[in-house]
């Protein structure tokens, strides 16, 4: 009896992982198979590079969102925040152009502005949510409106464009890479690896899960709940800054329509990946799969004419709901 209970659970676990682990991976594999069957170009290096580069923005933000949601929070402001940071970055770089000229220093200045703006925006959300104790949904709904309006105002209702010479100089940050892998993909990969280690192996990840699972228990267990939450928002703001640094060289402009609905795509990716929306459990690798599933659907619809690409949103919606139902079933059984 003793040996029976000691060994088989471990053996069983490694043999057949639960549906909540397997589900997202299976869905991704099925999508890849479908994509490859429908279009020969699907698995070409060019297409893969393209899909991954486009996923990188949402992906980098979604990694941060995973921590926020795991700790029991939510951030609706990230899309607007990205647009605002992009606008700010462009304004600062254009303004500094006469004195700094086209070169590495001005790019570094732009990056610094993006990172600092992201951190400050994250701190603001975090301060309102933790110190003042306002509901995360309400705070970030408010800041979402504020950033969106600010970028519209900065652009005077139109588009903020990076100086042409600067844009040409900055372009490689999105379009070039190392060994044929684009920079956004490399940055995304680094963020994911750091995020996964932080979530599953570090104290901070454990503290996030404890805070989201039951903040009273966390408080009584020597977890600084407010600091943990604050750090998740700051981290998310920083990652929005990183994503914007990758995004600006792609189009070289920012407008009121930049980053619209990014927040919902990021949250959707987090949920598809198996993180629990009400907090307490999160996994970064799942979020990556969620991001890939969402962008592959988009990509497949664009490559084939089987289904109208206008139905993209509908299919993504079905996938999100399906993912949550499957995970609930798995939880009930386990």
């Amino acid at each position: 009896m003793a040996t029976e209970t000691a060994n088989p659970p471990r053996a069983r676990r490694s043999a057949i992982p639960s549906m909540s682990v397997l589900g997202p991976i299976l869905a991704l594999v099925i999508l890849i198979v479908i994509g490859a069957a429908l279009n020969g170009n699907f698995l070409s290096a060019g297409n893969i590079n393209n899909v991954l580069s486009r996923s990188a923005f949402i992906g980098i933000i979604a990694v941060g969102m995973t921590f926020v949601i795991t700790a029991g929070g939510l951030d609706l402001s990230v899309g607007s925040m990205a647009a605002f940071i992009a606008g700010l970055m462009i304004l600062v770089m254009n303004a500094a152009l006469p004195s700094l000229g086209v070169g590495v220093p001005i790019i570094l200045l732009g990056m610094l502005v993006a990172l600092i703006a992201g951190i400050v925006a994250g701190m603001l959300n975090g301060f309102l949510i933790t110190t003042l104790g306002i509901e995360a949904f309400i705070v970030t709904l408010g800041t979402m409106g504020i950033y969106r309006s600010l970028v519209t105002w900065l652009a005077n209702g139109g588009t903020l464009s990076l100086d042409f010479d600067l844009r040409t100089f900055y372009r490689p940050v999105y379009f070039d890479g190392v060994l044929g892998i684009a920079w956004p993909i490399i940055v995304f990969a680094v963020v994911v690896i750091l995020g996964e280690v932080l979530m599953s192996k570090a104290r901070f990840g454990r503290h996030c899960a404890a805070t989201g699972s039951n903040e009273h228990v966390a408080h009584y267990s020597n977890v600084n709940v407010n600091r943990t939450r604050m750090l998740t928002y700051i981290m998310l703001g920083l990652l929005v800054g990183v994503a914007t640094i990758m995004y600006v060289p792609r189009l070289g402009s920012a407008s009121a329509s930049t980053g619209v609905l990014w927040e919902l795509e990021a949250i959707a990716a987090v949920i598809i990946g198996g993180t629990v929306l009400k907090g307490g459990f999160g996994r970064v690798w799942g979020t990556v799969i969620g991001v890939l599933i969402l962008s592959l659907i988009d990509n497949i619809l664009n490559l084939t004419d089987l289904v109208s690409p206008y139905l993209n949103g509908a299919i993504q919606g079905v996938i999100i709901v399906l993912a949550v139902i499957l995970q609930r079933e798995a939880k009930a059984k386990g």
Binding site: R206, V217, Y220
Partner: protein, 505 residues
């Protein structure tokens, strides 16, 4: 003995997967009679009650209602048959008012609209029968635990229950509230209701029950009239071994033992004022007092869990400042909460995560050493005799006793030199209590200083070398040695102690 049987189970079996939790239960609830169901945690009492109330189907066996076999398809059918189960964890909608809760799902209507006036009047009537004067319009979230219990009972009254099943109704009540509850139970009994309740307090069983059914390991070991059994008989039948030595013997403490903790002028705004005491190595200090007397708040304030001011705070003779739990733990001072489910343990996580949460820094500065965690869990399971089927069971699925042992193991991970335990045995069985008492005494013998906060008089008396009694946020008296008697504690707690000043240290 000829009262008609209202609800009965006959050779009922219940299995969850391959695990059989009930094996052939016979139980019989009679009209106008109070039946106590007692047994250790995990003996199968909760499952038995759920089957009786129709919350869960039996795997095998018969449920007899008025002698006829029935099968409850859902708990609504159970309620329709007049069977009401009051859960240990309250089943109240926190955001709704008292009145809305009492009539939830059975709202009275006049035409298409709610008849609020009548519902409110009826609610007032039920509450006044319970001598409970809360406003029907108060949201339940603002009530104390004992008031919530009263609302649950009022809810049962409103349903004209023929059978009332209560899972540990007195666990969260104060002495006088228990009396009010018992009065109601007697009134219901006189009106012909069949009542079943569980309790870990055998004194209550003696006081209120007519018959008692004792369970052990999923089977009924004895059913008898209460008059025929002493409390010792009951305990022995429950545990299956003699538990007369519930409390370990108190050793003689050297009078000049070194002081581990000295507190003076500890004030938690609105909750506790000017608390002062000292605690020596090897000593167990009991803190008694009524619920709401500020015991928990004072200890939480001391450990940095809530805002507090303190005039003097010395640990090992050194003045220290404690502003957060981290400060307290750094000083070797650790508090174990009274509420293991809401403040103590993450119920949706496994044992490993819970065990190491408080002392996570000991398992790696940045990255967590999983091997060290696993080793700590194996050690804790062995040292604290935590009985869980396998290592990755969710903590919420453990029995109360095992949860409590895990909680104790968790606070010990930070290796405190001064340990404050709050209600260390609330709602757990007598066998586990004995293990916890033995453990606490062994810790003291190893030179640790221990504070035990408890509402259970016997526990305070049996365990403490010295007792502080709190009343209305202040220390009402200090008792030591032979002076630690139930009478003296009650006098101080109620504010009728004549010689408070002389004894206060």
């Amino acid at each position: 003995m000829t009262a008609p049987s209202v609800l009965a189970l006959q050779s009922v079996h219940k299995s969850f997967g391959p695990v059989e939790v009930l094996s052939g239960i016979d139980i019989d609830l009679r009209s106008g009679e109070v039946l106590a169901l007692i047994g250790e945690n995990g003996a199968g009492k909760s499952t038995t009650m759920k089957i009786l109330a129709g919350y869960q189907p039996a795997t095998k066996g018969k449920i007899l209602l008025d002698g006829k076999e029935v099968r409850f398809g859902s708990l609504h059918e159970g309620e329709a048959a007049g069977i009401v189960l009051i859960h240990q964890e309250f089943n109240l909608a926190e955001q709704l008012t008292v009145e809305q809760n009492i009539f939830l799902g059975r709202e009275l209507r006049r035409g298409p609209l709610l008849d609020k006036a009548r519902m409110r009047a009826l609610t007032r009537d039920y509450l006044s029968r319970l001598k409970c004067n809360i406003d029907p319009d108060t949201p339940v979230s603002r009530l104390s635990n004992s008031d919530k219990q009263m609302v649950e009972i009022a809810k049962a009254l409103s349903r004209d229950a023929r059978v009332l099943i209560m899972d540990e109704p007195t666990a969260v009540l104060t002495g006088s509230e228990v009396e009010v509850l018992f009065e109601q139970v007697r009134a219901l009994r006189a009106a012909g209701t069949a009542i079943l309740f569980t309790s870990h307090k055998l004194g209550e069983v003696k006081a209120i029950a007519d018959r008692v059914t004792i369970m052990r390991d999923g089977a009924v070991v004895r059913t008898d009239s209460v008059a025929a059994m002493t409390e010792d008989d009951m305990a022995t039948a429950m545990v299956g071994r003699d538990v007369s030595a519930l409390y370990p013997p108190k050793p003689d403490l050297p009078a000049d033992g070194s002081v581990a903790l000295r507190v003076a002028g500890l004030t938690v705004p609105g909750r506790a004022h000017d608390i002062g005491f000292s605690l020596r190595h090897g000593e167990i200090l009991g803190i008694a007092g009524l619920i709401g007397s500020g015991r928990t708040e004072a200890m939480e304030g001391l450990c940095g869990l809530r805002p507090a001011t303190v005039a003097t705070l010395e640990i090992e003779g050194q003045p220290v400042t404690i502003r957060s739990t981290a400060d307290a733990l750094d000083q070797g001072l650790c508090y174990m909460t009274e509420d293991r489910k809401l403040r103590g343990l993450l119920l949706d996580k496994g044992m490993r995560v819970n065990l190491t949460l408080q002392a996570l820094a000991r398992f790696g500065r940045v990255l967590i050493d999983r091997k060290a965690e696993d080793a700590a869990l194996s050690r804790a399971v062995k040292d604290f005799d935590i009985r869980a089927g396998h290592g990755d069971v969710l903590v919420g699925n453990l029995s109360g006793g095992n949860q409590q042992k895990l909680l104790l193991a968790k606070v010990m991970q930070s290796e405190p030199r001064i340990l404050i335990v709050d209600e260390p045995t609330r709602g757990i069985d007598i066998g586990t209590k004995q293990q916890i008492y033995t453990f606490l005494r062994a810790l003291a013998a190893a030179g640790k200083a221990i504070v035990v906060v408890s509402s259970e008089m016997q526990e305070i008396i049996g365990l403490s070398d010295r007792v502080l009694v709190m009343r209305q946020g202040r220390i009402a008296g200090t008792l030591g040695g032979a002076d630690i008697t139930e009478d003296a504690i009650v006098r101080h707690a109620m504010g009728v102690g004549a010689d408070t000043d002389e004894r206060a240290a």
